[in-house]
Symmetry: C2
Amino acid sequence: MANPVLVEVLRGALIESVHCGAVAVVDADGASVLALGDVAQPVFPRSAVKALQALPLIETGAADQYGLGDKELAIACGSHGGEPAHVAAVEGMLERVGLDEAALECGAHWPSHQPSSHALVRAGRGPSALHNNCSGKHAGFLCVACRLGIEHRGYGAPAHPVQRAVKAALENLAGVALAEGSRAIDGCSVPTWAMPLPSLARAFARFATGHGLAPVRAQAAARLRAACAAEPYYVAGTGRFATAALERFREGVFVKPGAEGVLCGAIPAQGVGIAVKVDDGAGRAAEAVMAAVLIRLMRLDGDARALLDGFARPILRNWNGVKVGRLRPSEAVLPVT
Amino acid sequence: MANPVLVEVLRGALIESVHCGAVAVVDADGASVLALGDVAQPVFPRSAVKALQALPLIETGAADQYGLGDKELAIACGSHGGEPAHVAAVEGMLERVGLDEAALECGAHWPSHQPSSHALVRAGRGPSALHNNCSGKHAGFLCVACRLGIEHRGYGAPAHPVQRAVKAALENLAGVALAEGSRAIDGCSVPTWAMPLPSLARAFARFATGHGLAPVRAQAAARLRAACAAEPYYVAGTGRFATAALERFREGVFVKPGAEGVLCGAIPAQGVGIAVKVDDGAGRAAEAVMAAVLIRLMRLDGDARALLDGFARPILRNWNGVKVGRLRPSEAVLPVT
């Protein structure tokens, strides 16, 4: 792979580490606006496409039948930190379909939000599937299965109608056919489908604009975006990039990270979707790249720029709080003007 | 940078991520045995050189004066997990010089060993500098200052006699002059000096063989290696690569990771030192590369190979324990024979 350096990590005056990768920005018709690196390489989008995986939740009528509000829809699109309010929102979704955490098939892990993790420890408890960052998405899958009146067990299997519906939505938005050979298993056990970055970016351009989508799908996408913009805390959590960006820009941008250095987004007013993949899987670099791409495309200055600069060029401090270095986007990502 | 791919990360049948980097293997005279990638690029060795930073602890007579045993010397060379026995060993070192944790200037962080971290939470306590993975090294620095009869406060500053002694040892072993411009601040606030990988590898070849070193220094190195081989648990901790490798090979290998994808080591019987830097700073890749390089150079098979294969080709499982992928060293690192 010969992808360009996207992010440099400085310690003192020297470059300590670098992150290479690829970026695609395209419009809803698939026309390229920006392409860095080998964008033809298929990429597993992982959790970056949770908002797309949530489309059947609206389209099947499940969200309406079960009275899901913005918080529930946002957490269905989110990778939450396992904070108490996140857990409560997911529990609330499950209650509406007469299920509980035992129905979740995502597996358990400690909350990524450390204070919430420590609160569990202090209470003498361990993590449950509710604390899994994907539990909102999974609760959404269960709502879809219940709405369809089908067996919910095994809802994560590729052949289950819920995953078939998710796959069809992904194919429609991305404008690709997803072959079996491009399927692998995600961290939460549902399928993840590899596709080139421009396809992923196109899916988000369509998600953000509705352009080229059937009216029902365009409306579903708009409703999910509005929910994420209204309740950004439920998309990620305290101190997190996606939450901060959505709080600042509301419906003006969409961003959602996935594991292994993937980050997808959109700028609805420009009609473009954005897909970032850091070769080595580093989330720190994916955030810096996405923040820099938003600065570049939106020509930001003032407080909006300052907010994103905090993610594009984060300062690295050591255990004594001493500034020891920082990240910076390369000129390939953010040319000096 | 155009370093080769050293490690591939597979999800299902596809490559999800890759790690590029450089590797240098040299003998004590600096002759190259293996070089992959741009080995001329200076690299901050970070914690990978803790055993070299501990040489003054022996050479000044501090270890003898304060009666330090293998556990104390191993933890002075180690990056421990903050487990109770680690904390006790560091406390013991400090007691011998009449100091306590307040003298440590490394800063505090939660133990990386999760059960130990949770035990602190349950006890209603937070982490102290004793739990910092570098606290053993810092306790060693304090022992040196006390032995020299000098002010111990500020022992981490570049101009302090302790750090001057450390720098001189590094320069001697690596065979380089460390210019001010190559200095930055490490995570624990002491200086870290950038040097090319062959210099770093040469330092470990000399550390492992004593070749080219003054007798006092060669004996100090041998004593530290013996201590790490005798007490590998104090070099890292439960489930960690360095501990597992030292337990299996004892004085037959030396390995020590540092932050940002650095891993140094040696094979004493072959008279070589090894230095690995993963461009993007990923520790998962550095471990896989070092394990693969040891397999390659030592022509391992049987249970020794099986142990290292577990680090060279770790299986990735998701939150349900399902196998979703694995890491594998590239052919550049471990040619198929």
